[in-house]
């Protein structure tokens, strides 16, 4: 590991100022991903600015009936919050499906959203990777991509985003509150992460010196009927092959409102707008759910070894929506 300087930020403004001033600086929160990547030599920050004490560690009721979650709230605490569990079960389930108890005790809300892909090539500095070293190529495209993207990938990158939390937040229309040198801004979670295109080194639209300080989850009455379904080979402690975050509002057997986001398919949490459009006003049954899944997955372009994700995502989506009817 290369030497680095560690600083504990006094407040968010000084944290941003420090990172702004040092090209090699990075914000440090739970460190459950960043520190691993430093050990691997993938990340080489000259300065770590610890924001765990300043980025907000409370969960507050917002004026609109939603929640404002401090960026430093630990995954375990967020998952255990009674408001989260009753108003947004999808969020609690997504959190609890991720990592292990020990990691969730450290990992933060903001950091979870900014974790890097687990693509094996990205994590091995002896192998090419456009995300890690732009211009070196993407061996995963023709190599080991069984668990990589089927939607929105590019010639330069076929990575997936690993976060479960981000998938649930995308479905809930959550917004991240960001502080930066140029001022504050709010970014919808669905726009936070980006597709790789020709610049896979950029996971999100955040600037390097912008700090997430909170996540706002708006009120959504029917989110009380929501769920997160993570499909994986191992029963626990592994990333999703595919995952589904869904909330469903049904009356008289007809879908009035629906929210769907998919994980494990793309470089970003994939909000399934096409599936939602296909479902609204339709009967709430397996046939309609399957049609909606097909509508969303029609755009998938599987690679040699990951076409299985398409029927898998469809099965998981239909199963999850059916589960919400009960």
């Amino acid at each position: 590991m290369e030497p680095f300087r560690y600083e504990r930020a006094a407040d968010t403004a000084s944290a941003v100022a420090t990172v702004d001033a040092s090209p090699g600086a990075k914000f440090l929160a739970g460190g459950t991903n960043l520190v691993d990547l430093m050990r691997l030599g993938v990340e080489r920050p000259g300065v770590l600015v610890d924001v765990t004490r300043v980025a907000g560690d409370t969960i507050e009721d917002a004026d609109d009936g939603g929640l404002r979650i401090g960026a430093a709230v630990r995954n375990s605490d967020l998952a255990a919050d009674l408001r989260v569990r009753t108003r947004y079960p999808v969020l609690a389930e997504a959190l609890l499906s991720g990592a292990s108890g020990q990691l969730r005790n450290l990992a933060t809300t903001g950091g979870n959203l900014l974790q890097r892909t687990r693509c094996a090539y990205f994590q091995d500095v002896t192998k090419p990777c456009n995300k890690r070293e732009p211009g070196t190529g993407c061996p995963a495209r023709d190599g080991d991509h069984r668990n990589l993207a089927v939607i929105g990938h590019s010639k330069q990158c076929v990575a997936t985003h690993p976060s479960d939390l981000a998938v649930a937040l995308a479905a809930l229309d959550a917004t991240v509150q960001v502080v930066g040198p140029a001022g504050d801004r709010a970014i919808p979670v669905v726009d936070l992460h980006r597709l790789p295109e020709n610049t896979p080194e950029r996971d999100t639209i955040l600037e390097r010196d912008e700090l997430i300080v909170a996540v706002a989850v708006p009120s959504l009455a029917f989110a009380e009927r929501s769920a997160y379904r993570k499909v994986r080979e191992r029963a626990s402690f592994s990333f999703a092959l595919v995952s589904v975050a869904a909330a469903l509002d049904v009356s008289d057997g007809v879908v009035r409102g629906v929210r769907i986001a998919l994980g494990g398919l793309a470089h970003k949490p994939w909000r399934a707008f096409a599936a939602e459009d296909a479902l609204r006003g339709e009967p709430a049954n397996a046939a309609a759910f399957a049609v909606a899944a097909d509508a969303e997955l029609a755009q998938a372009e599987p690679l040699r070894d990951n076409a299985y994700k398409i029927p898998l995502a469809k099965a998981a989506l239909v199963q999850t929506l059916l589960g919400l009817l009960q």
């Binding site: 090539y121 023709d142 190599g143 029963a235």
Partner: protein, 686 residues
């Protein structure tokens, strides 16, 4: 021979060093506090084949704290061969091979500088993919360790043509890595004209001989100490190249050197199970009686050394038929040399054979247990020798009763909600061998006894079991016996491998203790003559695993709610540590069935899988109800304790039992491991 009355043997004794381990007081190799020790970080090749043109170590040497950079240019001569010929040439034989090391005052400096060593290569075209039609396949002179490569009796092709029922299928297993919890680690100390190594291994004496030979030193000038070992599974059976590197590094800087292989480096430096392609052909009469068994295996080795896994050897003794054939072909690829991984040979071989037996049972419309009982041989089909004991049928029957085998339904017909439910069974076996060992026993003045033997406790409970054996041989309480292990100075002893540890060491301990009881104060025992006098019997342990799986009808996720293993392994010396061994073996078998695969990238020429996030083994949530039991058996033909080894049999057969259960649940046969949702999705009917 009569069975001595036993007190400690058969009792569920807690691990003697358990408290020390949970308190963190048990020192593993790397943890020994050695004055003046410095740290080496291993530099590995980033190409799969070629030659080092130039090494630029200037930047690495500039890192504060760095003492030296070890390369083939300054390593000095090593006499070891194969993987132990560390840094002896600029040639690169596989990606991830040792090409150097940075030695520094701190681990952090060594790791930082390791990335700064610049190596230019002349790159040559590599070849890393095993296929059954590879033009480089050849017939090795023998298979691990010294079995005939091929066997043939009768007329297999004719018999298959004539067979009323036939199974003709190909099964594949991927490269798999042992991944012990404790990484391979060595501290090398040159002192008093000799070399001392704290090393994590499965046999300190064998490690000493091998490392001394590799370095061209007299055996007596090398001492290897390994008091506690955090798992090995075969990967620590013989010294790995980092141990030689530690000695070279220590010699270069004139200081003790600590080397730990990183988890990532474990994928190229510590051995692995070869991928296998296994062509199985079974011919039978309509009633299931086997008439032909053919098992042809294709696997890989490296260009560094030949390791030919004995994958089909188990098929030579498992079931009888008048026409039989086994063969092994290997191809030397630009890959690390495969090596031992829990039950090399039996484990992948029985996945194929026991899957094929399940397919034959279906083809004959027979219960798979009945098929196996029908084909149970009277004598060893290979040697013609009598079996010392063979209680496979008892295991199958006992397991069927306990597991509720009669609940098994037609394939794809049982469903609980979203989950398809299936039951599977497979036979298990492992040789019950032993090897010569020496032991020392002394009666102390305070009435206690000291036993010294160069045994290894790699997490198995060997230290505890040997204490029990000694206590009974001396007819004294357990706490009067102090067993010391893990030191090459204790003399020749078998390594912890081949399920031969307890059998080999225990016999030597018993012999030393019996000699002590003739009135001597101390005794040295050597079992060479006893082992040479062993009767020519076919000696094997047997077992049967029963598995229930649930397969999600929509997503094809596979879960294993219930596993039972019934074993016939002679006398069980310690039911508590034995149960752990059986459960651990079966857990590793479930892991092999569902998770484990090391992926190689043909273009890059190396493994992509590199850590425990990409190489999955089961977590607690994957192992639900699992139990092991055993039938009463005492086999005094194998050793004076009447006990057969139990380290490996748990894994053998388990993967087939899982695959057979998946078939029973879904009606889909998966012949390529691991069995994952991507291999099932779209294939389930309804």
């Amino acid at each position: 021979m009569t069975v001595a009355p036993s007190r400690a043997i058969g009792a569920p004794i807690d691990r003697i060093e358990g408290a020390e381990k949970v308190a963190g007081k048990a020192l593993y190799s790397y943890e020994h506090d050695v004055e003046g020790a410095v740290y080496a970080a291993i530099v590995t090749s980033t190409i799969a084949k070629g030659e080092i043109r130039a090494i630029d170590a200037a930047e690495a040497l500039g890192v504060p704290g760095v003492l030296a950079v070890l390369t083939h240019e300054n390593a000095g001569t090593v006499e070891g061969e194969g993987e132990l010929a560390v840094l002896q040439s600029p040639r690169v034989a596989y990606r991830g091979q040792i090409v150097g090391a940075v030695i520094a005052e701190t681990l952090e400096a060594a790791r930082e500088a390791e990335r700064l060593v610049r190596i230019d290569y002349d790159v040559e075209e590599h070849d890393v993919v095993l296929r059954a039609d590879h033009p480089g396949l050849y017939k090795p002179d023998k298979v691990n360790p010294s079995f005939p490569t091929d066997t043939e009796e009768g007329d297999i092709d004719h018999a298959l043509t004539e067979a009323g029922v036939m199974v003709d299928e190909t099964y594949r297993t991927p490269a798999e890595h042992n991944n012990a919890m404790e990484p391979h680690a060595t501290i090398a100390i040159w002192e008093n004209g000799g070399l001392t190594l704290y090393d994590s291994n499965q046999g300190a004496f064998r490690a000493r001989q091998t490392i001394a030979d590799a370095l061209g030193l007299p055996h007596e000038s090398v001492r290897v100490i390994s008091h506690h070992v955090g798992g090995g599974f075969g990967s620590k059976g013989l010294p790995r190249p980092h141990a030689v590197l530690a000695a070279l590094a220590a010699r270069l800087v004139g200081r003790p050197v600590k080397v730990a292989v990183t988890r990532q480096q474990m994928f190229t430096l510590t051995g692995y199970r070869t991928p296998t392609i296994q062509h199985l052909r079974l011919g039978a009469q309509a009633d299931g009686t086997l008439t032909a068994i053919a098992h042809d295996v294709f696997e890989q080795t490296s260009t560094v050394a030949e390791f030919a896994e004995q994958t089909a050897v188990v098929t030579r003794m498992m079931y009888a038929a008048p026409n039989r054939r086994t063969s092994h072909r290997v191809v030397a690829l630009n890959v690390p040399t495969p090596s031992w991984m829990r039950a090399p040979g039996e484990c992948p071989g029985m996945f194929a054979l026991e899957s094929a037996m399940d397919e034959l049972a279906i083809a004959c419309d027979l219960d798979p247990i009945d098929l196996r009982i029908r084909n149970e041989p009277e004598i060893d089909p290979e040697s013609g020798n009598r079996f010392s004991t063979r209680n496979l049928v008892a295991c199958l029957r006992e397991g069927a009763e306990r597991f509720g085998w009669s609940e098994r339904a037609a394939p794809g017909s049982r469903r609980h909600g979203h989950w398809l439910v299936g039951l599977g069974v497979a036979s298990s076996t492992y040789p019950a061998r032993r090897a010569p060992s020496t032991a020392y026993a002394r009666a102390e003045e305070d009435g206690t006894y000291t036993i010294r033997i160069a045994a290894a406790d790699i997490g198995t409970g060997a230290r505890t079991v040997l204490t029990q054996i000694a206590a009974d041989a001396l007819e004294v309480p357990l706490d009067s016996v102090h067993v010391e292990i893990g030191d090459s100075d204790f003399g020749q002893a078998m390594l912890a491998g081949g399920s031969m540890g307890t059998s080999s060491w225990g016999a030597a301990v018993v012999k030393a203790c019996r000699e002590l009881r003739t009135g001597k104060d101390e005794a040295h025992a050597d079992t060479s003559v006893d082992v040479d006098a062993d009767e020519p019997l076919a000696k094997h342990a047997y077992g049967a695993q029963f598995v229930e799986v649930r397969v999600n009808a929509d997503t094809c996720e596979i879960r294993v709610p219930r596993v039972l293993g019934v074993f016939a392994c002679g006398r069980i010396i310690n039911p508590k540590t034995a149960r752990s061994q059986f459960l651990g073996g079966m857990t590793m078998g479930i892991s092999m069935a569902l998770f484990e695969e090391t992926v190689i990238d043909p273009a890059i020429g190396g493994f992509v899988t590199q850590d425990l996030a990409s190489y999955h083994v089961p977590v607690n949530a994957d192992i639900e109800e699992i139990e092991a039991t055993w039938i009463d058996e005492v086999d005094l033909h194998v050793n004076p304790m009447g006990a057969k080894g139990i380290g490996e049999i748990g894994i053998v057969g388990t993967a087939a039992a899982v695959a057979n259960a998946v078939y029973n649940a879904t009606g889909v046969r998966v012949r390529d491991l691991p069995i994952r949702p991507d291999r099932l999705i779209g294939k389930l009917s309804g």
